[in-house]
Symmetry: C2
Subunit: 344 residues, 2 copies
């Protein structure tokens, strides 16, 4: 049995990755996830390879899931949340409660906090008509659709849409909402999905409403030049969306190039929703006595508690894995230091 134990809170890609890194170095890991499955948001993402891999990272999650479930140093508790945390003699004591009410106490030497993010709820951006109009979906719903069905269809009639519009920055870079940050990863995931759709459904016309394209990848320019041949890039963010009689969506926006208001009808609207602090951040922050930044994400680390992944702020899957590696590394060093103190 491992002589040191770490509690990992959150079973998304960052939590899984930190758990595996620690387990491989001989640490015992208890992985606690409040949902009924591991994998977090990223588990619903679709591979976006066109002619070749575009390094979207979606496959990383499955690899991490497999590795975590296979490792004997990792035990998983689903449907579980932390109710209370105390620290004494350099160790933590966490009270865990299952959804069915069952509760127990877990003793641990350190904690990895990998509670992820909450996707911005576009019902808070009323003019886009999310939930009111069937054919307005989020980028996360599109990920799921591509993953499950490979092709894109309109929710209202299951027909293949002829004209799709992506609307970027929904709930990001928005002073009115107080969400001042850029969510960073949405340009990359939306443009990759757009190119994937063009490959599978080449008749589709795709429009990309955006403010500034956030670059990604070492060969960004090659990718982007190809994307610009396939996708109509419009530097504008729509103001209002109206439903037409045949379930189309009339999008109204100010076109900067043309310097005029333009209305255009699409069959499907994809809202790229922002990355906001996880739902439990406030609770956990009080429970763990952990600081948050002015934007509501967690600070990096604090006396035996090490934060990883999108709980720190918007980041890609690759960045979440790197950040989990760093958190695991810090935890390992912390455990060694603890050990030295005990000896000294």
């Amino acid at each position: 049995m491992p002589d040191k134990n770490v509690l990992v809170i959150g079973g998304g890609v960052a939590g899984l990755s930190a758990a595996i890194d620690l387990a491989r170095l001989g640490v015992g890991v208890e992985l606690v996830e409040k949902a009924d499955a591991l994998g977090g948001h990223a588990r619903q993402f679709s591979c976006k390879a066109t002619e070749k891999c575009v390094r979207c990272g979606a496959c990383v999650v499955e690899e991490k899931l497999r590795d975590a479930l296979e490792h004997s140093n990792i035990s998983v508790s689903l449907n579980s949340e932390i109710q209370k945390l105390t620290k004494s003699g350099g160790r933590f004591s966490a009270e865990l409660q299952k959804k069915d009410g069952e509760s127990r106490t877990s003793e641990t030497d350190a904690i990895i906090l990998a509670t992820g993010f909450r996707a911005f709820d576009p019902e808070n951006k009323k003019p886009y008509g999310y939930k009111l109009f069937d054919n307005v979906i989020t980028n996360l719903e599109l990920e799921r659709m591509l993953r499950e069905k490979s092709i894109v269809s309109r929710p209202s009639d299951q027909q293949m849409p002829k004209k799709i519009a992506f609307v970027q920055c929904v709930g990001s870079r928005d002073s009115k909402l107080g969400n001042l940050w850029c969510s960073k990863i949405c340009c990359g995931s939306a443009l990759r999905m757009a190119r994937l759709i063009k490959m599978r459904q080449p008749e589709t016309e795709i429009t990309f409403f955006h403010i500034d394209v956030q670059t990604f990848g070492r060969d960004f320019q090659t990718f982007y030049e190809a994307a610009q041949n396939e996708v109509r890039m419009v530097r504008a963010i729509p103001g209002d969306v109206f439903k037409t009689d045949d379930d189309g969506l009339k999008v109204s926006c100010f076109d900067n190039s043309a310097q005029e208001n333009v209305d255009e009808i699409f069959d499907l609207l994809v809202l790229s929703v922002g990355i906001t602090p996880g739902r439990d951040t406030k609770n956990l922050s009080a429970l763990l006595n952990l600081k948050t930044t002015d934007t509501g994400f967690f600070e990096a680390s604090q006396e035996g508690i090490f934060t990883a992944g999108a709980a720190l702020g918007p980041m890609s899957i690759a960045e979440a894995v790197a950040s989990a590696g760093y958190a695991a590394c810090e935890a390992l060093n912390y455990l060694d230091i603890q050990k030295n103190w005990e000896l000294g």
Copy 2:
């Protein structure tokens, strides 16, 4: 005396930061720098605070310099380069040569590689007339000017320029040059300098030629809205630059909003040059038997050698510090593992 030693190659902000992290945990550090001073590129950067700190990171370098020079576990060798590296029994033996020809051997348990980046040389982008026209300077030269003199003047006549243009993406996102990546940090540093100049020399008109603004910081939107009130943002990259009779610069570009070619005369042109792999990357890659990526930057780590900072690719000062923390953390764990092997 510390019982474990790490050789840090490169005394820029990443190397300094890794050295300090390791020294504080009891590791002996030899910091080797080929130039005649520590601090790397970032040492020439100017604080860009306007009403308040804008988190540009320039002050971090001085803090790191002070901390590194004060720590008794860190010894510094300037004007020194690695000539040869061998590994035996889990330890490295590095042959170091000074510029004056003096050479010696250093034994070490692990290596941090923090050799930084090379700024793109804008003489390779001939139409901009760098070196031909006095009043075409780089963003790095502007950093130095702001740091040393606080105000901006034209090199040709030392007068304060009335009209300044920033040209972004010089040597980045450029298929013709084969530099396909975005250098990521130039938008942030150039816009921060632009706002600083507007505060100190409010009569100056500033134009910002760019492709896509790469966002930065948790309160990006607030910063950017203020910047847009002070700086004219033009989504275009100039094609040609010509000198006028009075040392002005006629900039020619295609204005997308107006859909026409526009000529405009500026007093000073600031080229935001790209971040490219360090000059020694190829040599060191062969010497250390270290892989590089297809873009020519170093891979993250390899058997006792841990890479930090912009040697990995374009990154901000804050990211370089975080990356150095990760490299130091990995090195510490590696040293422990080595220790266990020796015991086992």
